[in-house]
Symmetry: C2
Subunit: 237 residues, 2 copies
C-alpha cells in the first residue's frame, strides 16, 4: 500500500468531498485495475493505452492515475511477479543434471512465457532502469543464465561463440513471430525456437557476425521501453 | 495516371473553384506524396499515419486522399517497384552456379532489404489480396524461391524439412529484431540470419515442430495488413 491509496475515491465518485473513503474501496479499485491491466497487456502488449485499462477495470481515468500516476508504475506492479518466475526458471534449469537439457529447456520455457503473454514478451526486451525490484529480478535471471551457458559450454554441447546476448536476439525475434502470427498460427514460434536451438548446438557450422555489444543492446532495450515511460512520445512516432 | 489526378488542387488551395488545375500541379503533388510516403514508411513502417505523410509532403490531407483514397492504394503505389526488385533477386540467385550460395545469398539479400526499409519489411509479412500487381510479383518471387529450395535440396546442402514457410518465419523474426534494435544495434539482425542459415544446412541436427500450414500463415499475413487496409481498427487496438 502507498499513501495515495488513502485518497482513492469511492465507486460512486462522492468520496473526495466529506468523509474519508472506505479503505476497501481503494483496495478494490486497485485490485481491479491490476487485474484489468494484466489482461489487457497480455493480449495487446505494453502499447495498450491507460484509457483501455481504465475501461476494462470499469474505473474512471482519474482513479486509475491516482493509483498509478505513470504507466511505468502500473507495468511494474503487474509484472514484477512474472519477473520473479522468470528468475526462478533459471534455478530450476540449473537443477537439471544434464547441462544441455537445462540450457535448452530454459530457452524453450522463456519463449513459451513470451507466447503466453504479449506484455511480458515486451518486458523481456525492454529495460526499466527506474524499476528497482523488477530490474533486480532480471539481473538475478541473467546471472542464472550465465551459469547455464557456462555449464553447457563446459559439457561441450553449446557452441563457444554463443553469448547471453543471443538469447536477447532470440527473444526479439520471437516477439516478431508472435506478433505477426497471433491466433492465426499460434504455434509457429516453436519452430523458430527449434531452429535456433539446433544452431546453438556444438560443433559450430561456421563463423558468425559478432553479436551486438552489451551497451548497444541495453540501449535498444531502454529505448523500447519508451512506449511505457513516455507514452506521448511513442504515440507521435 | 488515374482520373482523380485531374482534380488535384494547386498548392495554393485556390484551384478547386474556377479554372481546372494545371495538370503539372497534380503530377507534382502526386510525386511529392509518393516520395514523402516512401521516406515515412521506410523509417516508421506501415503503421505510419496518412496525416504524417501529408505533413511530410507538405500537402493538405484532402489533397492526399484525392490522390490516394485509401492507405492501401498509397502503400501499393510506393512498394510495387520494391516487390519487383524482390522478385528479380530470386532470378539472380538462380543464376548462381552453386545452389547453396544462391539459396543463402538470397535469404541474406531479402533480410537486408527488410533492414533497409521498415515499410518493406512490413510488406513482406503482409498480404494484400486486392493489390493484384503487387501480389503477382510476390507470387513470382515465391515461385523462384521454390526453385532455389529445390536446387539446394537436390545438391544435399539444404535440410529436407526446410519449407518456404521457414523464410516467412525468418522474415517475421527479423522484423522483431529490427524493430527492437533500431539504430542502437543496427547490425544485430545479421547474427540472427547467420544462426538460422547454419541451422538450415544439411544434415539435420534433430527433428523440428511442424511449420505452420500455408493457410494459417496466409491468414496471419492478411490480418497483419489490417494496419493498412483498416487503419481505424488498427488504431483502436
Amino acid at each position: 500500500m502507498t499513501p495515495r491509496d488513502q485518497h482513492a475515491e469511492g465507486p460512486g465518485g462522492t468520496a473526495d468531498s466529506a468523509a474519508p473513503p472506505k479503505r476497501s474501496d481503494a483496495e478494490r479499485n486497485r485490485g481491479r485495475i491490476i487485474a484489468a491491466a494484466r489482461a489487457i497487456f497480455r493480449r495487446d502488449g505494453l502499447n495498450a493505452s491507460m484509457a483501455s485499462v481504465a475501461r476494462e477495470a470499469e474505473v474512471g481515468i482519474a482513479t486509475l492515475f491516482r493509483h498509478f500516476p505513470t504507466k511505468e508504475e502500473l507495468v511494474v506492479a503487474v509484472f514484477t511477479c512474472r519477473m520473479e518466475a522468470y528468475a526462478q526458471a533459471t534455478e530450476e534449469a540449473l537443477a537439471d543434471p544434464d547441462p544441455w537439457n537445462g540450457f535448452t529447456g530454459y530457452i524453450r520455457e522463456v519463449c513459451a512465457m513470451q507466447a503466453a503473454d504479449r506484455g511480458f514478451a515486451d518486458i523481456l526486451t525492454m529495460s526499466f532502469p527506474g524499476a528497482q525490484a523488477l530490474e533486480e529480478r532480471r539481473a538475478q535471471a541473467y546471472q542464472g543464465f550465465l551459469e547455464l551457458i557456462r555449464r553447457a559450454k563446459d559439457s561441450g554441447q553449446l557452441r563457444e561463440d554463443f553469448t547471453s546476448r543471443d538469447l536477447v536476439l532470440l527473444l526479439m525475434a520471437n516477439t516478431g513471430v508472435l506478433s505477426a502470427t497471433g491466433d492465426a498460427a499460434p504455434d509457429a514460434w516453436r519452430r523458430l525456437v527449434a531452429w535456433m536451438i539446433q544452431s546453438f548446438q556444438a560443433p559450430a557450422r561456421g563463423p558468425l557476425p559478432d553479436p551486438p555489444e552489451d551497451a548497444a543492446l541495453f540501449e535498444a532495450m531502454r529505448r523500447a521501453s519508451h512506449c511505457v515511460t513516455s507514452p506521448e512520445t511513442a504515440k507521435r512516432r
